[in-house]
Symmetry: C2
Subunit: 882 residues, 2 copies
């Protein structure tokens, strides 16, 4: 048994961590008796050892020599042999797929003598020199890290001199000259001659692949996809087979099902007389796999058979690379296919229906973010639109944004909150940080499996590729198509599901989820333990939330109701009131409006509970901005209009706004502080809630309202408010003769509430974590100020690994939630505990909520399906732990 190396015959799918996805997949295929060119895998352990000591670990070279001997036996060719030379590919392969992120060298083993040998053996001199030319370029780029463009420029020149358009039209003698030219260029740039010893070529290539684990684009990719840093990559060394040996050769990539729709049909592309990287790089636009049936029917049959076998073997949709060398099919790689959200759901549900996997596995296999991806809005078919161009629908969903022509700028503007569409001829791994921040991606080249397509699909972002009618002028920062010119900053709309690009903004509509989602979420509901509620402030939201599976409203904010156009004057009258009596008069006017609001929401959600939060924002939010008023007053004064009514009104509002102004509104006179000082406001709200509930119950609608007191930090605050609400409850019950429950609870959204939760729990039926505010106060930064100013730098410099407003901060906020839940329940055994911050719709946060023993999460209606699935995952994870 070797320490650092495993031949394909020795490995298997279960050794993924050690052999990488590629190495394990090849070994597994060999084990299954499939046609795989022979080879071996240098393990991730060797990579980690190399990265630690910056040198190949002891014993590895000897093991490589040994493996090469065995490879010679299996392939009948020998590395460096002039008569019967073996060429190998050297590829990276990490345990978690990182497509295109690390480096690959093909055709390794060539030098003058071997090239001549290949030419003689194959009878195809052109092929031999072309292979040698390709090898030099790749080696120069990947191993010696020389600029690829310099080599490409020479090739371009050769095409020019030969008077041809495509590389494959270049003749053997010219290619031979290109090789000589490349060797000279290499020596010049590298300041040392090109290595002619195939064994030392191999060792250098292994080193380069190992090192590529730490290249910047790989690091960015790992950060974006939360892949650990200390996994390392394996290196697979495999005998080359050639798809570019003539028209009976081909190379291709296929998916066992449609990665976009999930339909059960082979989907993919191939290129005749080409090497694999030609497909992946998107330089030539390939043909759909169905065309292979006509071109090479027997090969197609073989491939279809193997595909089915592999899918059954792995119980998952596969992404397969194959090469046909002179009519013989070879499999080069298989892996679980990246797929669109829709395909992920459909595949999982279908496979469970087909009996391939269990329901549990189907639920586990779809990520909450994939379900989120399905919730993308689509274009409204009835909306006016101005079609600009059409490309391949690489990743579904609609995106509207301004055109940006490079990843840098896309990243920058995206981070600053703009919606941008990254438009490129093609994308490369260097562009990933721009894709992360863009709303969508549009390329003029590439196929469904090109870089842009794969990355965007993985991120659930709309993407259109191969939109070949676009002429992109990067230097002038503009694009032209059919005589129209758009410049950077112009607005366009992508429909990633149809591949259509529109000028300007096209109206979008609710997403159509497809029938499989409902089935999958139904299974998820049976597995999860957390309840899922929605945050909804209107009857419409409540209806939508129920449709999406919400089991109640976890947060109904009342402030938006105050903002309605016809109410704002009344609300302002309340705020401008000089005393309790005047304020009461305004409140009396608001009462029936509020009751109407609550009736709508309670009716929509009955018999599920609706948690209504009493007024939370500071009162000045209902007045015009102070600086607008100041300018209005100053300008009026300048014009000598002090006598006008509008001046007097503005001056009055300004006076009051100044009294109410706060240095830090987040930390100001809001939440239950309003209720303690102006009990009449909360009293009006409580009265309208109970009146609404009573009216509905008289109708036979089992409305369930829960009253939530915001921003409590001291037990006594809640005690006072509870007393008030209880009194109103008793009054309304008495007046209406309706018996109804009295459920009063509080948000836990300042640290002090968590720290003194035991005491507070004595006044509460429930706690609901307001994690937006709790995060702000725990960290001591406000979301608006942080995200606009320093949070990007914090994420970039690794001060924070996640945006704490998106994913719960386990160590800080999580610690307070744990304390509050434990302390609260220690005093009030049946205390219901939920979360209603935005984190309630974030899968990792939901997992934390499950861990902390919460009863439910509440999130925006559109996140409800995501939360249902995430809760099921969290429950399964919890079962595994226990």
């Amino acid at each position: 048994m070797r320490q650092w190396i495993s031949t394909f015959a020795e490995g298997g799918a279960d050794q993924r961590r050690r052999l990488g996805g590629k190495g394990a997949g090849l070994a597994e295929m060999v084990r299954a008796g499939l046609p795989v060119p022979p080879g071996f895998t240098i393990t991730t352990d060797a990579c980690l050892a190399f990265l630690r000591q910056d040198d190949l670990p002891e014993g590895l070279v000897a093991e490589i020599d040994d493996a090469l001997s065995q490879l010679a036996k299996e392939s009948g060719r020998r590395l460096g042999d002039a008569i019967n030379p073996l060429l190998v590919s050297v590829r990276s392969g990490a345990a978690v797929s990182m497509p295109g992120m690390m480096d690959t060298v093909l055709n390794l083993g060539l030098n003058e003598a071997c090239a001549a040998g290949i030419a003689a053996q194959s009878g195809d001199e052109r092929f031999a020199w072309d292979a040698y030319r390709r090898f030099i370029q790749m080696y120069a780029n990947v191993v010696a890290q020389l600029p690829l463009e310099r080599f490409e420029a020479r090739l371009e020149q050769a095409r020019h001199e030969a008077g041809v358009q495509e590389d494959r039209q270049i003749s053997a003698p010219i290619l031979r000259r290109v090789v000589e030219d490349h060797l000279a260029l290499y020596a010049e740039l590298a300041k040392s001659p090109f290595p002619t010893d195939p064994r030392s070529q191999l060792l250098s290539a292994v080193r380069a692949v190992f090192s590529s684990w730490n290249n910047p684009r790989a690091k960015v990719y790992r950060r974006v996809h939360s892949i650990p840093e200390d996994m390392g990559t394996a290196v697979t060394v495999q005998a080359m087979v050639f798809g570019n040996r003539g028209e009976d050769s081909a190379t291709g990539v296929l998916f066992t099902r449609n990665p976009n729709t999930g339909e059960r049909a082979l989907t993919g592309e191939f290129l005749q007389n080409a090497q694999g990287e030609d497909v992946v790089a998107g330089i030539r636009t390939p043909l759909p796999i169905s065309r292979l049936k006509e071109a090479m029917p027997e090969c197609y049959r073989q491939i279809a058979e193997v595909s089915e076998l592999l899918e059954r073997h792995y119980q998952d949709m596969q992404d397969i690379e194959f090469t046909i060398e002179e009519g013989r099919v070879f499999l080069l790689q298989t892996r679980s296919a990246k797929r669109s959200s829709r395909a992920a759901v459909k595949t999982a549900v279908d496979m469970a229906a087909e009996g391939l996997i269990e329901q549990r596995a189907a639920v586990a296999r779809v990520s909450p973010e994939e379900v989120a991806g399905l919730l993308h809005r689509t274009l409204d078919p009835k909306a006016e639109h101005d079609l600009l161009a059409e490309g391949l629908p690489a990743s579904p969903g609609a995106a509207v944004g301004t055109i940006v022509f490079d990843a840098e700028r896309a990243a920058e503007q995206g981070r600053s909150g703009q919606s941008v569409i990254l438009v490129r001829p093609e994308t490369a791994p260097d562009d990933v940080h721009g894709i992360v921040e863009a709303a969508g991606v549009l390329t003029s080249r590439g196929g469904m499996t090109c870089h842009a397509a794969i990355v965007a699909r993985g991120m659930g972002k709309p993407c259109i590729v191969g939109c070949e009618t676009l002429r992109i002028d990067l230097a002038q920062r503009r694009l032209t198509v059919a005589g129209r010119t758009l410049v950077e900053g112009d607005l366009i709309t992508l429909d990633g599901s149809s591949g259509k690009v529109y000028v300007g903004q096209v109206a979008t509509q609710e997403p159509d989820l497809g029938p499989e989602v409902g089935v999958l979420l139904g299974w998820a509901d049976q597995m999860r333990r957390l309840g899922v509620r929605a945050n909804a402030d209107t009857p419409e939201d409540s209806v939508r939330a129920r449709e999406l599976g919400a089991e109640g409203v976890g947060l109904c904010r009342t402030e938006h109701m105050f903002m309605a156009k016809e109410r704002l004057p009344v609300v302002r009258r309340m705020i401008m009131a000089e005393g309790t009596e005047e304020r009461q008069a305004a409140l009396d006017q608001l009462l029936p409006m509020q009751r109407q609001d609550f009736m709508g929401i309670l009716r929509a959600m009955a018999p599920h509970p609706v948690t209504i939060r009493l007024l939370d924002p500071p009162l000045h939010e209902f007045l015009p901005h102070i600086s607008d008023l100041e300018v209005e007053v100053a300008v009026a004064r300048e014009r000598g209009e002090e006598a006008s009514d509008s001046y007097r009104q503005a001056a009055g509002l300004l006076r009051r706004a100044k009294v109410l102004a706060e240095a830090n509104p987040m930390l100001g006179f809001r939440g239950c502080r309003l209720g303690v000082v102006y009990p009449e406001i909360y009293e009006m709200q409580a009265r309208s809630i109970f009146q609404a509930m009573a009216a509905l119950r008289k109708e036979g609608v089992m409305a369930e309202a829960e009253v939530m007191i915001p921003l409590v930090g001291m037990r006594q605050e809640l005690a006072l408010m509870r007393e008030l609400v209880s009194r109103v409850h008793a009054e309304v019950s008495h007046a209406t003769g309706v018996t109804m429950p009295l459920v009063v609870g509080t948000m836990i959204e300042v640290p002090r509430a968590a720290l003194t939760a035991a005491e507070i729990a004595e006044e509460a039926e429930f706690f609901s974590f307001g994690t937006n505010d709790l995060t702000q106060t725990t960290f001591g930064f406000s979301r608006d100020d942080a995200e606009g100013k320093f949070l990007p730098a914090y994420l970039e410099r690794g001060v924070l690994s996640d945006n704490p407003f998106a994913t719960l901060d386990r160590d800080g906020v999580g610690a307070l939630m744990k304390l509050a839940t434990e302390q609260g329940r220690s005093r009030q055994k049946k205390l219901k505990v939920g979360i209603c911050g935005e984190h309630g719709g974030d899968p990792r946060s939901i997992a934390l909520c499950q861990e902390l023993g919460l009863n439910y999460v509440s999130c925006s209606p559109y996140r409800v399906p995501v939360a249902r699935l995430a809760a099921a995952h969290a429950a399964m994870a919890a079962e595994e732990v226990s």
Copy 2:
């Protein structure tokens, strides 16, 4: 042994909780053989039982009867006996003195028959009817709770009919008519006749005194003085002696030392031919005690002897009430004297010097707030002033404020942050809430021991009483003196040390502490375990802090240095900079200025450490206000001045200010967030600190700077900043060749820092609790917004018992401090932990810091003496516990 009652002969000073201060003091005097009228005390246990069941406890009445029999034996008189009637006083007496807060009934035992008996026995009919008249009034007021004014009005009428000015001039026949009149009035108001049975008079009076424990002014007093609610009051029943039996009778109050200066000289007042309440109530202005020497030399000698005996007995300055009845001296009460801060310190130090008490006791006896009282500013003798009037200097210190004529308004305006002077003819217990919020008190009547004087002294507030030239017109809300009229809202200045009242604001100056403070604090320093540092931003502050005993600077803020007039333009240039280079140029200009600042402070404090906090506030604080700029720009536009330079400059500042504007500056881009994003700013500051330290060390000054990183919430923030500071330290050490310590630590001022303190401690040599911000983030309210808007209501409604910005919140903020200290030290054993929020100068907060095991507190220079004493008290308390 009786259950509910203790006769004077049975009790003693050690039974204060059970017998109250008055009962225990009388018993102790009896035990010491002093002349005390006989009596007994109904215990606080009886009071608590009464309050619980709203009825006298079982057995009490029988015990009272028994005690009355014994009293009859001792006094030779019997309650209700027509021939030889006994009159008693019924007084409240709590364990902790609450002067004037609860009720008293004198002359109890009178009815028609007994009054006649007294008249016959004393041969003074006028005295008998006057006593009866007084008794009816007091009983009506205290027991039956009838309005005193109605009785006073009848007496007034009697004076008018008799054509006399003073009560003592009213003749016996008229007084007898007044008595009848009073009895009729009583029956009318109470709707039942005046009780004529002395025993039932007594039982009702006992009930009334017990109930008075819960009257509103007593509750306010207890809240202000942090006295527990569940102590109850005792009732002392004592045979009456009469100071109003003619010119050989008198009544008085004296202090064994001067309660204002601490000088060892009898100080007090007496009134001839008067009852005790005439002195306390301030109705007649009494004579100084020294005049008693001339009036009744033998009595004076006896009193002086007894005073010395009592002081030695109690080892403390005594406040003694006495009555002289026809030449015989009786002591009615003795208690530890309330005294001015200066007197408290001088008395404690003197008594230790006299060998009366130990140093430890001397330190224990002075409260930190008394030392704080000494730190009051005094009037600048060189300042211009406009003397208005002169009264008695009842409580020292200078106060400037606007005149307010009632306690309600004083409380209201004081709470809203105005400085007000409460001006009244005299004050009563009902006025306490106004005195609490006033800056000072001025009365036109009363002596040094009147209500206003005692209460103000206890609170350390300037107070002038007996300013008899003032004519106060409460109805018109104005005062006149010597032809000048001032109205409510006018500004005056009080000098409580001289008794002078000035019109307008008079400049004040540093306080003169007197030599005893230094001695006392020296003793305290030997006892305390907490270090005491000062918060100082300038060399001047640092010098002052050292003089006051600071052992280092715990917080040196650098932002004020940036605000200096000549620097602001440079600072603004730095802020307006378009890129790092431009910013660096401005920073290069600031560097030598900062170095100069630090050299001054480090030099002043060497060899003590100076903890320098790097820049903390958000950058927009250094720009003009955004709304000012907006108005400037709008007005200039209105005037068509868009071409002017000033318009352009304002517009530029406005643009930048808008970019930097924050919704919540408290929670914004500040603290180490600035340092992470603009490392060049912190680098400049670190460089100037180390350059300053190096330069001083080269001079032989052992400067010690510690670098403090503000607002850390994540370990990685501190790690990055620590790396930066270490690098600069190494560079400066290398460049200057000076070896100097590298001490880097952080403020703990957001909850997350406390929650993750173990990790953060790995990057820190010290923690310093920034409890101002920590309180704000823990409660989720900002100090400015809270104190201006809802905190007063919270304190009033008992939502909070203390202002958490003045006294540390034990349950919330304290819990985080405990966690941070324990967690920090678990990872970094030698971690130095301090506090630099304003709480560092608050005695109760200092006690908490001691309890949590902090190493030092840091406070404003003027609080340093307070902190030194408070730390000694905390150490003594800790020793007692352990």
